[in-house]
């Protein structure tokens, strides 16, 4: 009896780990795409917050979570356009302007929330979408195949992005302008257009990540993301700029969170110890950064604005 109870807990923990990993995964895939093209975006957290509020408000009004996802992604795309303009056309310093976007998102999402919603009201979350046949499997079914649609989208994006980056001309262009924009430009690749597309898609994914978070939690509040966007940026380094690496990093983070949550619910560890456990992801990331900095090379043109003839 106690055995099956243990299995149940493990299954629930892993399933919730996968759910918690989803926003990280979406945001860091987007960030990885932008960085591969040579643009650092530190505003992910702000974009996520705006996407989260947009999605929350839409679902509150329409009771349709899918509209929420659309609104979240659209907000991200719009900010991406703006961020592209300031970093590509105006060549603004990327590290600092990203912090500007973060503050903007932090303030605006809170402002809108206080003005248009006020007191937090829960919204309708996603219905889990059971994959036929597979979801019926014992243990594995509940762990992997009884999630909401956004989880499948996020994890489906991993092979898709790997394929695009390594098997298509567009992906080759992105990698080329991230490493050597001059050479790519001399071969007729438009550095501007390719970087714009990468930034816009990347921010769209950040907006989607925010939407996924808000709808999954069914709630919005001030600073809902609590620095998740910054962790998503770190995950890109953690995963050494590859979609698969980013996925592994997100899963590790999701699992750590899920385990900490479970331990809290069961009272296995005291509150103060869970604060220490909450430090773990950041500490692990710093250690990972040391290793990554030694072993892997970041895109050579990262954070460097491209000037033709420069």
């Amino acid at each position: 009896m106690s055995d099956s109870f243990a299995v149940m807990i493990v299954v629930a923990t892993i399933a919730s780990g996968i759910r918690l990993a989803t926003p990280f995964l979406l945001a860091s895939l987007g960030e990885a795409l932008g960085q591969r093209s040579g643009v650092l975006n530190l505003g992910v957290d702000g974009v996520m917050l705006l996407g989260a509020f947009g999605a929350y408000y839409t679902v509150l009004q329409t009771s349709n979570p899918y509209y929420g996802l659309l609104v979240g992604i659209s907000i991200g795309l719009l900010i991406g356009l703006f961020y592209g303009f300031i970093t590509l056309n105006l060549r603004a310093e990327q590290g600092v302007s990203g912090i500007g976007i973060y503050l903007f998102g932090l303030g605006m999402s809170d402002l809108f929330f206080q003005k248009f919603v006020g007191t937090p009201r829960p919204i309708l979350p996603f219905m889990p979408l059971d994959i036929p046949v597979l979801s019926g499997l014992p243990v594995v079914g509940e762990m992997l195949f009884q999630h909401s649609i956004i989880v499948y989208i996020a994890f489906g994006l991993v092979p898709l992005m790997s394929f695009v980056l390594h098997r298509t001309t567009y992906g080759l262009n992105i990698r080329a302008i991230g490493e050597n924009p001059e050479a790519a430009d001399s071969l007729g690749v438009s550095v501007m257009a390719t970087r714009y597309s990468a930034i816009i898609i990347g921010n769209g994914l950040a907006g989607l990540a925010g939407a996924a978070l808000a709808i999954e939690l069914g709630i919005f509040q001030q600073n809902l993301t609590n620095a998740m966007g910054f962790i998503a940026i770190a995950l890109v380094y953690f995963g050494a700029w590859s979609p698969k690496g980013v996925m592994i990093g997100s899963l590790v983070f999701g699992m750590v969170q899920s385990i900490v949550l479970q331990c809290k619910t069961f009272g296995v560890i005291p509150r103060s110890a869970s604060d220490l456990a909450a430090m773990a992801p950041a500490v692990i990331t710093i250690l990972a950064l040391v290793i990554v900095a030694k072993r892997f090379k970041q895109p050579s043109a990262l954070t460097k604005p491209y000037v033709r003839g420069g």
Partner: protein, 389 residues
């Protein structure tokens, strides 16, 4: 003061020889960026159903219109000025310090623990002790990121962000654990805060019945110290030199790793002092956490970057710049009361100001080089190539 507007290579990618004669452009364009952000703020106010003119009048009236208001503004400006002056040092050394939040928290924690350990030391000694503890705590936290960059090639942007997260959790851990007010435990309320810290560490009030306390002159003093450090000492010369051209500096026998670490340590020390002043100049005279960093710092770790950028990375220009942003914070609260516009508007506006000021560098360079097109083009391409390595 001849070097007042010598640009940082980090923001201005060209070696600017003519900047002195045209330095008014250098100040005018960032100012335009702020005005543009305020204009967008006016549009936001309008769309939120508030009159922008009376809204801004309320804001700036509340912040600068009375002695009480100005005293409040000065107090709000303290952390902004301190973090901003520190950011000036870091950015001049071409180090991007986004860890102000964590450095403030660590400085506050160390200074609070000093006050908890030595409650009976007289004021005259205890106040310098807690400020020093704040500086050490912040400097330590900054130096970690500095050493990681200098010796392990870890981007300081990422490490400082991660160290922010670690510092916040460490604060929660201590304030819920060993540092918690025994009274909170006895009552069972368990609010994560320290007990009322010793009165010996209270920063004395300077104006009877107002908020203005000793932290204000301290912040001014430290900002002036940052200026002296950068332009009147050999250390400052080395820091700026490393920021300007690390290759040439190394060739001249200046240790790049040491100075990168030092830049972040100085920057962190100033943020740490800001954290200490937030605790000992607060009205409750306790250190409290709401679980995040913003509740304690009021985002000063980030907003200090805005202050420094607007000041052209100059510690003394950071003084009026910090007053402007401090005033906006005070004004935002007044606006919230008067027109029911959430004060979060100011955070959003600060973000826009960062974006616009950073973007305005582009126009600044264009206007500086107008009229010497060919030469400027050649020069820019050369130096840009160097900086990009």
């Amino acid at each position: 003061m001849g070097s007042l507007v010598v640009p940082s290579p980090f923001l201005f990618r060209f070696q600017v020889k003519t900047i002195k004669t045209k330095s008014f452009v250098g100040l005018l364009i960032p100012l335009c960026a702020v005005l543009l952000a305020l204009a967008l703020g006016a549009v936001m106010l309008l769309s939120l159903g508030a009159n922008p003119i009376s809204g801004y009048a309320t804001m700036f009236g509340a912040a600068f219109g009375s002695v009480e208001g100005f005293s409040e503004t000065a107090v709000k400006s303290i952390p902004l000025l301190l973090v901003g002056a520190g950011i000036c040092i870091a950015f001049r050394a071409n180090v991007i310090n986004i860890g102000g939040e964590g450095q403030m928290v660590m400085g506050a924690l160390l200074s609070t623990s000093v006050a908890l350990t030595f409650p009976s030391v007289p004021s005259l000694l205890l106040i310098p002790m807690v400020l020093l503890a704040g500086a050490i705590g912040g400097a330590f936290w900054g130096a970690i990121a500095g050493a990681l960059k200098a010796y392990f090639n870890v981007s300081e942007i990422l490490s400082t962000i991660m160290l922010n997260i670690v510092a916040v959790q460490f604060m929660n851990f201590l304030l819920r654990g060993v540092m918690i007010d025994p009274g909170e435990v006895a009552r069972g309320t368990g609010i994560p805060q320290t007990m009322r810290l010793t009165e010996n560490a209270d920063l004395p009030i300077l104006l009877e019945g107002m908020r203005m306390h000793l932290g204000v002159p301290i912040a001014l003093f430290v900002a002036f110290g940052a200026y002296i450090l950068l332009w009147r000492t050999a250390m400052g010369f080395r820091l700026r030199s490393v920021g300007y051209n690390p290759h040439a500096s190394r060739y001249a026998g200046i240790s790049v790793p040491k100075n990168v670490t030092a830049a972040l340590a100085f920057s962190g020390a100033m943020a740490g002092i800001a954290g200490a002043i937030l605790v000992f100049g607060s009205e409750s005279h306790r250190m409290v956490t709401d679980g995040g960093s913003t509740g304690f710092t009021g985002s000063a770790g980030f907003n200090g970057i805005v202050v420094a950028l607007l000041a052209g990375l100059h510690p003394l220009w950071s003084i009026p710049s910090a007053l402007l942003f401090g005033g906006m914070l005070v004004g935002a609260n007044a606006l919230q009361r008067a027109a029911q516009v959430p004060s979060a508007l100011i955070i959003a506006l600060n973000g826009l100001i960062v974006v616009f000021v950073v973007s305005s560098e582009y126009f600044k360079q264009r206007s500086l080089y107008a009229g010497q097109v060919d030469l400027a083009d050649d020069e820019s391409t050369e130096t840009e190539g160097e900086d990009n390595e």
